[in-house]
Every structure is written in C-alpha cells, then in structure tokens.
Symmetry: C2
Subunit: 168 residues, 2 copies
C-alpha cells in the first residue's frame, strides 16, 4: 500500500511544452466508484496494465493499492466499466520539488489540461513553475472518476469557459 | 481470465459431513458491485489473499479475473467494503464429476449452507449426491454480493424458514 499525496492544478498556457520531457499514452476506466473507494483499470502505451484501488478520502492524501495485470485482462475489463473511458497523454515534466506531470485529455475530456505534483508529505510547499494555474485539488469535478461519469465536453458552457479562461 | 461455470444448490441434511474433506476459512467483502461487475477481496486462512473481478452476467457462466495480493493489503481493503463482510468455512467434497464445495456461512449469514459445483461446460449434467437440495443458481439472493448487502439474518422469517426447510 502506498500513501499518495498529490496536488492538482489547472495549466495556464503552453510553457510546460518547452524543454524535453517523456510522454505516455494512458487509457483508463473505472470498474466502480463508491463512497469508500474507486477501482480503476489503466493501460499504459498498450504495453503495461494496472488494477488500482484508491480510497475515497477527500483532499491530498489517499490510500492506493496498485497491481500489475496482463494487458489482455485489462482490455477485457474495460467492457465492465462504469462511465466513459478516459484517454490522456501524460507528460512527465522535470521539477526540483517532486514528480510533476501534465495530463492532456482526449476523447470526451478533450481541451482539459491538468498538472499534478506528487509530494513527500502534506507540509511540503513546492516551488511551482509560472505556467501552473489555479489549484483544483479539492474540486471533485476533476477527479478522474468524475471525469469519466461526466466528461468535460458535457459541462455547462459557462463552466467550461471558466476553466479554459483560467487554465489554458 | 477464466470462464467460470458453476451451479449452486441448497444442502439437505448433514450427509456431506461423512467422509474426509479439507476445509478452509474464508473472509471476503465486496469493494463494489455494479450492473457489470463485482469486485471482491478474499482472505483465505489468514494466509493468502486475492482480488477478484467477476462480470455480472446472469446464470452459470461469468468471466473472472483473479490476482494474488498481499494479505496486509487485503486486510486494509476490507475497510473500503460495501455491505457486510462474508465469513464462511468452505469444505472441498470429493466428487467424480467436478469440484464440489459446501459453504457453511457464519456472521450475518449464520445458518446458511450452500453447495457449489464447478463444471467444465454448461452442457455437463453431473451425478449429484443425495444431500444436494434445490438448485439456486439463478436466485440472486444467494449471490455473495447479495448476501453481503442483505445477509440471511435480515431476511423475512418466512423466507428464512423456506430455505431452512428445503435445505437443511
């Protein structure tokens, strides 16, 4: 079991594209999402697959149990999902204070770009690049489970515009 | 992925206790149960643990994905369950035509005794011992997910009596 502490931000502009970084393609879906936990299947670059149980604790800190599984199992399990499949390109951005990733969503969440930083503890206050926008760690609309149940393309126009205006 | 074909029966009398058989203690709980799948954590004899995804297809044949996980993970995941934990002693009964098990439930399902036979294909018509009672394969009340959401002890007295009368 890993304790996961992460903060989420909107992304302001394209500054994060400067400089080299590695990218991977993620396809993922939820088998279920309850008050206590979310159960996720993820396929990375069609090559690796993982089954992950995340506790549904609010805020930065959540328990996470992750297991490597055969890709063929994961492909078959996608058919058992609730909500939409989530597709995104995840970019790993070099950062002094922690693992910083930028997720560019596709499919029903096209247009959404979210940065995540993983921290060693909740007290850590990292120096963030200038392209980091508003924090959305506690905004449930940006939970991946929410984005699969109600993708960005289905949001009200005013809500979409607010995000695209403050974000990218 | 395994294709699981099994039939379930009530148990009439104690005849199955004659003769030697091995037994193990199961503790299990559902992390979630949707229209498409049930996600189960199971701990066997406090020594082995498994995370299992079963598709929710009706009847005998269901897809099943099972992964061995650390017991400590499984113990922590029990706290993320929906419904009640299911406790049972599973007895493996020697049988010519397939793997026959008898589950003696405890906890909230105390009193319930269910036999299951796993078959090579749906056409197989096994010779069954005389202590096998009414078939309940398609009776959703006996799905383990149902027994965790609504344990036998919570059934209406008439329903309980009907089962105990025809079963044991």
């Amino acid at each position: 079991m890993a304790k996961e502490i992460e903060r989420k931000f909107l992304v302001a502009g394209d500054g994060w594209r400067r400089g080299g970084h590695s990218s991977m393609r993620l396809r993922q879906a939820y088998l279920a999402s309850t008050d206590a936990a979310a159960i996720r299947v993820r396929i990375v670059d069609d090559r690796d697959a993982f089954l992950t149980i995340k506790s549904a604790g609010k805020g930065m800190s959540r328990d996470e149990f992750e297991y490597s599984i055969p890709v063929a199992d994961a492909e078959a399990m996608l058919a058992l999902r609730v909500g939409e499949m989530i597709e995104k390109i995840r970019h790993a951005i070099p950062c002094a204070d922690g693992d910083l990733t930028v997720d560019e969503f596709g499919g029903g969440n096209e247009g959404l770009v979210i940065a995540e930083i993983e921290l060693p503890d909740e007290a850590c206050d990292p120096a963030l690049p200038d392209w980091i926008g508003a924090e959305v760690t506690d905004d449930r609309r940006f939970y991946n489970a929410s984005l699969s149940a109600r993708p960005f393309s289905a949001w009200a126009p005013a809500d979409r515009a607010a995000i695209l205006g403050s974000g990218g």
